[in-house]
Assembly symmetry: C2
């Protein structure tokens, strides 16, 4: 339904794959004029993540990179701290499960086991653990030129993506200076960021000089995950929650939101910003890039 | 930051309350020109839901209507089927918990207990249960005039809301014909629909002649919740997932997405649509209503 975007001049390490046949489905329907048509819609599948023998969570995901998703989820929850702890990651397509095995039993299995025996779903506690882990953290010094922010937005918007092919999906992009490196998409914005974390962990990528860009809102969860990943700068097209801002200030994360065309707002860590670009010279966004289908 | 919308001619039973002092927070920051300013951002708080003595889930919520959220969540998960089972609902502001007490122990506590003892977080199972409950359901016959859809979109867009005041929030609206009745907002789109379910349950509202409108995507979760609520028509500004479409067809839910201005797409249950309106007469949306901050 949307016009093909122009080819970007970006060498991604991982780019979206809108042509992958198992990530979208063609379905029939009608439009507002009553005309029959075929529409591409995004796939959505359950994926259950195990840490050794313990079932941790079932995520609803588009289904690409299940191993990165599992590793990144466990890392961002503080259940794994390093890839060297991991002895195997096995994905079973049919059972829709991914099992992460560690060389020795982790603290978390015992902790989860105890928790689960006493009072129910573990994820509430896990969130508290994550918060405790992050609370004392101070993210590393870094700087970000405003020209990079504008360049990143432009390049990411022009990248062929599942969003442009079918809508209803979030994107998260790991960037260095003005270069997008790894662009993950998923039906859940938390999954897209977890896949980035899993990729970074698997490739021993250093986080201190990176920028994380997301199409999703800057909630407490997104901020906690970014802080767990030790990335000092988080940028979004979308808005903020108060708790997201509060945690960002606590950990000294630079938080930039509502980044569209020449506009943005920075509500935390603005000392990292270097204004080397005149916003008046930046064009407003083309309506095609307004990502209206992914809420 | 945004202009005040014009007053709508709608008598809501519950309308958003953008003036409520505890739902937004004023925070300082800078914009793209480097100018300091104060920005309204949405609150986000944890709320832990108990069913009797069993901890069920911790939701991240804006914090209004915690009792409706808890009741609606438990109803939509199939853990409660009727308000007559409920003996008390108590919200503790300080502990950020809400406890729903039932007149007798429910099946779910036993089931959850067993599940939790064996292999971890209960929510995976709960989702499967919900799917099993919905799988055999056929939603009631109904009809929807396309003029109602356009009227609803227009009225909802013009309603003063937290979205218009601060962005970064989802809305779900229970409607009858062309009248919006109950408009809930929340940082999580699933919370907004659960609050509607809790209100319906508490007020014995019949679902068969209602339309549910949401700003969020039409995922499997949204479709399952709508089917649990027995509402035959679900409308969204946003896009679809393939699983959402598939479940809708299975339960005969009318699923309308990408509804913006004169445009929409219907991918399930189009037999319920009565085209009584010429789309050419419907104006395109004003950019102010494009909900760009709530992804």
């Amino acid at each position: 339904m949307r016009k093909k975007p122009q080819k970007p001049r970006v060498n991604y390490l991982i780019a979206p794959n809108p042509q992958a046949p198992d990530l979208t489905r063609q379905v029939e329907g009608i439009d507002h004029t009553g005309r029959r048509g075929t529409y591409a819609v995004i796939e959505e599948r359950p994926l259950t993540i195990f840490l050794n023998a313990t079932e941790i969570v079932t995520a609803m995901t588009i289904g690409d990179y299940p191993e990165f998703l599992a590793l990144g989820f466990l890392f961002n929850q503080g259940m794994l701290s390093d890839v060297s702890e991991v002895s195997a990651v096995s994905f079973d397509h049919e059972l829709e499960t991914v099992v992460v095995r560690t060389t020795s039993q982790t603290d978390y299995e015992e902790k989860l086991g105890k928790r689960i025996r006493t009072s129910g779903c573990a994820l509430g506690t896990v969130f508290e653990d994550m918060f405790d882990l992050v609370a004392t953290r101070r993210l590393p010094a870094a700087s970000v030129r405003t020209s990079w922010l504008y360049e990143l937005s432009r390049k990411i918007n022009q990248t062929p993506s599942l969003y442009l092919a079918a809508g209803a999906i979030h994107g998260t992009v790991l960037c260095h200076r003005d270069s997008p490196l790894v662009y993950m998409e998923d039906v859940g914005r938390h999954n897209a960021v977890d896949k980035i974390a899993g990729w970074m962990m698997s490739n021993n990528v250093k986080p201190e000089d990176k920028i994380l860009y997301t199409t999703g809102r800057l909630t407490s969860e997104m901020v906690l995950k970014t802080a767990m990943m030790n990335i000092p700068i988080l940028v979004s097209r979308s808005g903020f929650t108060a708790w997201g801002v509060q945690i960002s200030r606590q950990v000294n994360l630079t938080l930039i939101g509502r980044m569209r065309g020449r506009r943005y707002i920075c509500l935390s860590g603005q000392d990292r910003l270097i204004a080397d670009s005149d916003p008046k010279g930046v064009p407003e966004e083309h309506s095609r890039h307004q990502r209206r289908g992914s809420r």
